[in-house]
Amino acid sequence: MIQSPDLPLWAAIIVGIFVLLGASITLIGALGLIRLNSFYERVHPPTLGPTLGTICILVASITCFSTLQSRPIVHELLIGLFVTMTTPVTLMLLARAAVYRDRKEGSPDVPQE
């Protein structure tokens, strides 16, 4: 028996749709990691997960827990804040490191300073 929360029908529909939507968007982002060809192209798709994917799943979770009224929705808001603020920073640092390494090796793909 698969477990699921006890929700009224409207909430169940919202939660189901948003959870599926968020998971599919994250999967598309991760597929981009495989399907695109160069590193600089591959940096773009993983931003799908932390932006829209996370927002969708958090909306589902906010709906679920505010209907159940078991606890306030603080954690979701904090997670959303952390993820959307921190992922761009990590990606920027990583891309800068890649540019630095490519320039050091004299790779032709990256414009020189």
């Binding site: 160069s38 600089y40 931003t47 799908l48 932006t51 904090l78 992922t87 761009p88 990606l91 920027m92």
Partner: protein, 160 residues
């Protein structure tokens, strides 16, 4: 006031976060207040320059714009990943930029990187330009116009 709480906004955020994560009880409120006052003093050692943000209607407008753009570019990037259009090419752009305030530049960097499809790489303060990478580079001047008109003006309104 300035001596006790050098960064009121940071202290307020720390306090709210502490209380929200641990629960409303008198003890936690006292500990949270202590943490907010003591920890925010750590920033003194970093000596950040004052940010003087102008509170205006530009802030919610910028937030709305970013949200809409994130939605739109999510769909665009998802389409590229799933269908791999043949004529797409990606590339680097040198974007001329007039913003100089470091906070405004940081905000723009986070916004552009958070939007799928554009990636901020390097800011060159001497030549006043930014190196960005765009996943779907059809027309270079179109991207430059888009960023200058959409974000740069609003950010200037807020920060400068």
């Amino acid at each position: 006031m300035k001596r006790i709480l050098p960064f009121p906004l940071l202290s307020a955020t720390l306090f709210t976060m502490w209380v929200l994560l641990t629960g409303f009880s008198p003890g936690h409120i006292v500990i949270g207040a202590a943490v907010a006052v003591i920890v925010s003093r750590v920033m003194l050692a970093l000596q950040p320059e004052p940010s003087n943000i102008r509170i205006s209607s530009a802030i919610p407008r910028l937030a709305g714009l970013v949200f809409v753009d994130i939605l739109r570019s999510n769909i665009a990037v998802a389409r590229i990943v799933l269908f791999k259009p043949k004529e797409r090419k990606s590339g680097f752009i040198h974007l001329p930029i007039e913003l100089q305030n470091p906070y405004a530049l940081a905000t723009l960097a986070v916004i552009m990187t958070a939007t799928p499809g554009t990636l901020w790489l390097q800011h060159d303060a001497r030549n006043r330009r930014v190196l960005i990478h765009v996943l779907d580079l059809v027309d270079e001047s179109e991207w430059v116009d888009l960023i200058k008109n959409r974000y740069e003006r609003l950010l200037m309104e807020i920060f400068e």
